[in-house]
Amino acid sequence: MRVLVVADDASTARLARACRFEGLEVAVGPSPATCDAETVTAALEAEAADALLVHGVSLERRLELARATEAMPTTWIGASASCLEALAAPSALSALAARAGVEVAGAPPTDARRIEVVVACGGHAPDVVLGDVDRSARRRDDWIVEESPAPSLDARVRATLHSAALAVASGVGAMGVASIAFHVDAAGVVALVAVDPDALAGHPALESAIGIDLVRARLRMRGSASTDAEPRDERHAIAMRIHAEDADRGFLPSPGAIERLQAPGGPGVRWDAAAAQGDAVTVGATGLATITAVGGDRDEALALVNEALREVDVRGPATTLPLLRRLVGDRAFATATHAVRTDWVESELMDAGEPQPRATGDALVRTVVEVDGRPVTLAVPTSLLGEREALAAIGAAIAAHDAE
């Protein structure tokens, strides 16, 4: 079987690896930004692919693609069109919350934790909770720290979360690996926030804690095979995302060339790169890498991630490393009581340190243009030039190339 993968660059590498491990061929599809049904159908034909795997694409777009593949001999590896349709309904969340016996989250509460429960939903085998993750440390409502299992979580609350997640997953007819997000407030009240029926490449801490590659588990569920996704390990893992943003300037993106990107090493440390040395950071793509440290218990994971943060070295753009180093040593995060809430990073840690000097190097954006049917890569400095000048520079470079 040949799988067309539609995902951003960093996730594509991760998904392709899992496909190859499962004995599948891989073709790289269009970018998630331009993956309408027409483009994807053309790519499937051009690549002679007979299966489609998408990641990091909006619910509406996934629904469009799921419907398009229904009329084709293509295998759609993802939640069914009917499941996506049910989730797209305006009252979907409140109906699912009612079914699961929990509240629906309104405006983001400030005194809540965000905990996600990942569920494997097979055809014949009973659904199973793979684990839970704490994603309370966030900026711009996106996680920067993921921890699994969720630390210092009351046993009754955990039981409520797990049974609610199973009820939501079956209520929506999920097939695969689904992630159900909840808020848990100070009083232990649970509210449903979001449902992702295709949680593929986004849970590094959970994967490390339970010893399962979620993408491979999902690929093995094609057709109606049994889930084969029982957790293997009971370890503790902490994942941290590093961004080219200055957290002491309100997480301001720091576009520019990455002059150096040195990964940490050693047992128990996983490094998922989202960019490489020499790449350019752009305002829309600031992710550099995710570090995941796994240990026998939380203290061991903390020690490993602390050391890993010390080893990472990034030159060029401003990064969130100073903030992550503060975070990992902060009492609210490091102590057993674990007082991290969804507003904690932005209200307590952000802008609490010295801003980093803005990037001084010139940003180079690599653009591939086609000249006489051959792709030519051009590097264009954007920070020095406006769009118009950049286009003119591309034109001049093509003219020079033609003249050779």
């Binding site: 300037r249 301001l252 609490a352 000097p357 001084t360 010139d362 020095l384």
Partner: protein, 517 residues
């Protein structure tokens, strides 16, 4: 009996039909006490009360019904303070006034000082009260040519009113004396000596030698933003001072609110944090690490640093390091740029706002080269917003912009042909425009009824028609009350565009859907 007129899509004008000078103030009291939901501000004047409202809370027809049911209070129950102001009766116009009234100087002084005056309403300038006499008082015409500068403390007459100028300003009233009483002091409670209902007696005195010294406006000297170039005008602005009509204070505030909200959102400020409003090619140098964003006009702009020059795009946050200089260049669309800095511009607030009201002289002085503007705490709790919202299309010189208006409150001051001209022809935004108003020029002047209108509350976006028939479109620093008839008002949703009309733009006025009375 009262009649109610439409003043804009967010204001009604209650016209009080009475003869006593406090009829309007008694009506204003009664409306205030009725506490009608959605009423935002009341601006009483000689014969009218302007009622500004929030259309999301109450709709105009329902509000009009509620207002029509309000009976004026039997007696004014407002500020019952009485003040005595010492006056040295040596005004430059005292002889002229005596001649006009056929009285001696001494008789004029005696009559002025023996009359009890009551503040009927506030207007013209902060702390300026229109004092109505108890009992009959002869009508006194204004000077044919207004003075460009009247000293603070001047005691004056016009119509049947007396007044004291709280600060030096231009004016057309007849000057009969001066007082050293300070009528407006931001460090005092109440700030304004006068308020509607306060009674005033003037006490002849010979000791007064000097007018009250104007309070010094605080210097802007220690902040991290240095003004390298101020362009045509560089001001601190925010949402202004709404709700202070009783002190004679206009709301003022930023001319393009959307630009302020966008720039503040980009840097992670609260949407109403104070910003810099720039007209022309300003340049600002950072003396600390900052995050800034520029919204509003389409401007060619860049950051000049020791290691080169970077382009800056509208609505996008960018860093400034010490020594970096943000330079605004040629404006291609719109008129005013808004610069937000993470933490907000932190000049000391005046009456709850940091905005400069250019007409009233409230808030900081317009910024000048060398000023060092202070910035607030960057710990706003909100991250920056790196991806800008979709761009707005602002007008450029030569474009024709259609503005939706609501007719009223004095549309009946236009003849039928005047109304045809108003809505039929194109109006040129002239260069004689500022934050007080835009002078519109049309081939055909508006044909209007002759006459004198008593001062009444005005609205931003109002189209005021002076006797020459060339209308003025009122901007945020407009006077609180005005004596020229306002024949229409641009709807609130288009006031941001009004604040961005560059000279040379042509304007067409259209009566919006459902906007006709």
């Amino acid at each position: 009996m009262t009649s109610i007129r439409i003043a804009s899509d967010r204001a009604l004008l209650v016209e009080v039909e009475g003869t006593a000078l406090d009829d309007a103030t008694r009506m204003c009291d009664a409306i205030d006490r009725a506490a009608i939901d959605g009423v935002v501000e009341l601006v009483p004047a000689a014969c009218t009360v302007l009622v500004r409202f929030d259309p999301e809370v109450v709709e105009a027809p329902a509000l009009a019904v509620a207002l029509a049911a309000v009976e004026p209070s039997p007696a004014s129950e407002r500020d019952a303070r009485s003040v005595v102001l010492p006056v040295r009766y040596d005004g430059d116009d005292l002889d002229a006034v005596a001649n006009a009234l056929g009285m001696s100087r001494e008789a004029v002084v005696d009559r002025h000082a023996s009359t009890t005056w009551t503040v009927a309403f506030m207007g013209f300038a902060p702390g300026f009260g229109y004092l109505a006499p108890e009992g009959p008082w002869p009508e006194m015409p204004r000077r044919a040519t207004p003075r460009t500068r009247i000293p603070a403390g001047s005691v004056a007459l016009a119509g049947t009113f007396s007044a004291v100028y709280p600060r030096a300003s231009p004016g057309g009233w007849q000057l009969i004396g001066r007082t050293d009483a300070t009528l407006w002091d931001l460090d005092r409670d109440p700030v304004s000596t006068l308020a509607p209902g306060v009674t005033v007696r003037f006490q002849p005195s010979t000791h007064i030698v000097a007018a009250p010294a104007p309070a010094a406006r605080s210097a802007i000297a220690h902040g991290p933003i240095e003004v390298v170039r101020a362009g045509i005008q560089l001001l601190v602005q925010d949402e202004g001072r709404p709700g202070l009509a009783a002190m004679g204070v206009t709301a003022s505030g930023v001319a393009d609110r959307t630009a302020m909200h966008r720039a503040n959102a980009a840097v992670g400020n609260a949407q109403e944090a104070a910003v810099l409003e720039c007209l022309g090619d300003a340049a600002l140098r950072a003396h600390a690490p900052l995050v800034a964003a520029v919204s509003g006009a389409e401007v060619d702009m860049s950051v000049h640093a020791s290691d080169g020059q970077r382009r800056v795009r509208t609505d996008e946050p960018f860093p400034l390091d010490p020594g970096d200089e943000l330079r605004l260049g040629t404006t291609t669309r719109g008129l005013r740029s808004v610069v937000a800095v993470r933490g907000g511009i932190a000049v000391p607030p005046v009456l709850g706002s940091r905005a400069t009201d250019t007409l009233a002289g409230l808030g900081p002085e317009p910024l000048a080269v060398g000023d060092r503007v202070p910035v607030g705490d960057a710990r706003t709790g909100r991250p920056v917003q790196p991806v800008p919202p979709s761009a707005r299309e602002l007008p450029a010189a030569g474009d024709v912009v259609t503005l939706d208006v609501v007719l009223g409150p004095r549309a009946d001051w236009l003849t039928p042909s005047g109304m045809t001209t108003l809505l039929g022809q194109e109006w040129l935004v002239s260069a004689r425009s500022d934050r007080v108003g835009i002078r519109l020029e049309g081939a055909e002047p508006l044909d209007r009824v002759d006459g004198e209108l008593q001062s009444e509350g005005a609205v931003t976006g109002g189209l005021q028609v002076p006797p020459d028939g060339q209308p003025v479109l009122l901007l945020p620093d407009r006077p609180l009350t005005g004596g020229y008839p306002v024949v229409a008002a641009v709807v609130d949703g288009q006031l941001d565009v009004v604040g961005q009309l560059p000279p040379g733009t042509r304007v067409r006025l259209r009566v919006g859907e459902g906007a006709r009375a």
